[in-house]
């Protein structure tokens, strides 16, 4: 199991790589990728029992990224974990590339095609139900956005997950409080999320979505026997680049050359600080 220090370093390296691939492609969802990447870091480095060698094993853990637009974070983490060569990231958005702007199963390690919001939770419920039917031990994780929860299909799925008592299912909400038109609270308020899911019969925990230790602790095991679990991860859109943080414009903004240099400098400074701190 990698140490907290190693994961802290990976978080910064992932951020650097997200910025790089989006800058190179000239398009991407930078804000959401930066808000959810710590969650992916913990999942793929500590929680999920899946590797390039077990990617088609029936007993593997499943991860579905329902907020598919933050795919750059997923691509970067999967590449670093060895699901495909990192060089393939260079083809993001290029003609005939498998690496499109939302997840597809053409990319090794991706379980399900997403991009239209409000789909992933139902699919995850189906996977978790199959596990329960077969008494299989795999867990199913699904990442949702807080803005995405305005899609009614999520609540159909939430009802079914509790109805079937799917405790192997864990939903994680990347709660960055912003969506493309503005604050989620102003566009269509989804709060109080904890009370809503609790009323639907879910076990609920709320954590800092950038706290590696807290995420590890809450995702390490199902939250409650006989009930699906939801982790509301409070995050900051654009986290890690000061001028992108908590700014609607960076939902799918692409940094210009000057911004790009500044953003990388901030991350590199963070990496240098981290290494100094470790010495």
């Amino acid at each position: 199991m990698p140490t907290d220090h190693e994961l802290a370093r990976k978080s910064l390296q992932y951020r650097r790589q997200i910025l790089r691939v989006i800058k190179r492609a000239g398009a991407g969802h930078i804000g959401g990728s930066l808000s959810c990447v710590d969650i992916l870091n913990v999942l793929y480095n500590r929680i999920l029992r899946v590797s390039p060698a077990t990617v088609t094993e029936p007993g593997r853990d499943r991860y579905i990224q329902s907020k598919g637009h933050s795919v750059e974070a997923l691509y970067v983490v999967l590449a670093e974990r060895g699901f495909f060569p990192e060089s393939e990231l260079e083809t993001l958005g290029a003609p005939a590339s498998h690496f499109v702007g939302h997840p597809t199963r053409n990319v090794p390690g991706i379980e399900h095609n997403t991009g239209a919001l409000g789909h992933g939770l139902s699919v995850a419920v189906g996977m978790a139900l199959a596990a329960k039917m077969d008494r299989a031990r795999f867990r199913t994780f699904v990442l949702l956005g807080d803005g995405e929860l305005a899609e009614g299909s999520n609540w159909e799925a939430a009802m079914a997950a509790a109805h079937y008592g799917l405790d192997s299912l864990t939903a994680i909400i990347d709660c960055n409080s912003l969506q493309i038109s503005g604050p989620t609270s102003a566009v269509m308020n989804s709060e109080p999320l904890g009370e809503k899911f609790a009323a639907f019969g879910w076990a609920v925990r709320r954590v800092d979505g950038h706290d590696i230790e807290a995420l590890t602790s809450v995702l390490g095991a199902p939250l409650a026997p006989g009930r699906p679990g939801v982790v509301i991860a409070d995050t900051v859109k654009g986290k890690g680049v000061s001028f992108m943080e908590d700014t609607v414009g960076w939902h799918h903004g692409v940094p210009d050359d000057e911004q790009y240099v500044r953003a990388l400098a901030e991350i590199d400074a963070g990496l240098a600080n981290l290494e100094r701190g470790a010495q």
Partner: protein, 332 residues
């Protein structure tokens, strides 16, 4: 459903009355499910209308209820299939293919999950319940989605065959069934396979190409025209709308020069327009009329009354063929 004249023609052809395709579907599914516990029926409060009450009683561990939630029905079906289940997602065709269209497109077809979507009480089977309950758009909408077989079996044999084929092909499939009892069609020259036309009756004067519950009317119209006008009519059951058996359509167009298509669907985007595209692209010298539900507020009535109103009957289809031949100057 049939006029007395039509019943007389059916008797002369020796056709036997079968049962509703929905009942045949339910029994075929039970056969598959008994043999393989990974075969599941997923329903949206639709086990009764899907004739799956016996299935639920016999195999309670193999039916998944999602409640009245078609989007979740299709999404969960995708997840179950992804984890190795052979899933039949069963819901009224009107809701399944409209409310859950995006899930069909993304979670089944695009994600390549081998789910069989079963649209029950399809077309105008619900009759006077009205347009909310009709599915006259499903062929058009689903034909435009890549990686989905679209099929409408015409009798119990085609239904049974389609269920077994769907359970084994491991690709996304849409099947639509009605609930009226249907005559069993003659065996035809070709056994059932997705993408294959079944020629029920040979002939080179007129070609009838039909799908689903309209096929019987086309068959009777063909026999009736032989009786009344001495015309030899080729009657083709086209259980698969996509992939279409283009070769059979083109051969019929080139050899018959007059084609009438019939479908329990809007005249837009269904079997008729699919055949028209095949003929036009090949430059085939064939005149075509498309009989289906016109683009208007749908006539109120039972399925039989709606069929009669729009000429989806033996008499109606025969009259369309005659008038088409007159229009292009062929002696009737």
């Amino acid at each position: 459903m049939h006029s007395e004249a039509a019943l007389r023609v059916a008797a002369r052809l020796g056709l036997e009355m079968g049962r509703p395709n929905l009942e045949e579907f339910a029994e075929a599914l039970m056969v598959r499910a008994r043999a393989d516990r990974n075969v599941l029926a997923v329903t949206s409060d639709s086990r009764g209308s899907g004739k799956l009450s016996s299935f639920a009683k016999a195999l309670p561990g193999q039916i998944v209820e999602v409640g009245i939630a078609e989007q979740n029905l299709v999404g969960m079906a995708a997840g179950l299939a992804s984890a190795g289940k052979t899933v039949f997602a069963v819901s009224p065709a009107c809701f399944l293919t409209a409310r859950a269209l995006e899930q069909i497109k993304n979670d089944i077809a695009y994600s390549d999950q081998p789910v069989t979507l079963v649209g029950i009480s399809a077309g105008v089977s619900y009759g006077a319940l009205g347009t909310t309950h009709h599915s006259l758009h499903d062929f058009a909408a689903l034909r435009a989605i890549h990686n989905l077989i679209v099929a409408a079996p015409a009798d119990n044999f085609e239904t049974r065959s389609a269920v077994h084929a769907a359970a084994t092909v491991r690709v996304p499939v849409y099947l639509r069934f009605g609930k009226a009892p249907l005559f069993t069609l003659p065996a035809g020259e070709v056994p059932f396979a997705f993408g294959r036309a079944r020629v029920l009756r040979p002939g080179c004067d007129v070609a009838f190409v039909a799908a689903g519950e309209t096929v019987i009317h086309a068959l009777l119209a063909g026999a009736y025209l032989e009786e009344t006008h001495g015309l030899e009519c080729r009657v083709i059951s086209m259980p698969t709308l996509k992939p279409l058996d283009s070769a059979a359509v083109l051969a019929a167009g080139l050899e018959c020069h007059t084609m009438v298509t019939a479908e329990e669907h809007s005249v837009h985007g269904g079997l008729g327009e699919a055949c028209a595209a095949v003929l036009a692209r090949a430059g085939a010298p064939c005149t075509l009329d498309i009989v289906g539900i016109p683009d208007e507020y749908t006539f109120t009535g039972s399925q039989a009354e709606i069929f009669h109103h729009y000429g989806l009957s033996m008499e109606g289809l025969a009259a369309t063929a005659i008038s088409l031949r007159r229009r292009v100057g062929t002696t009737a």
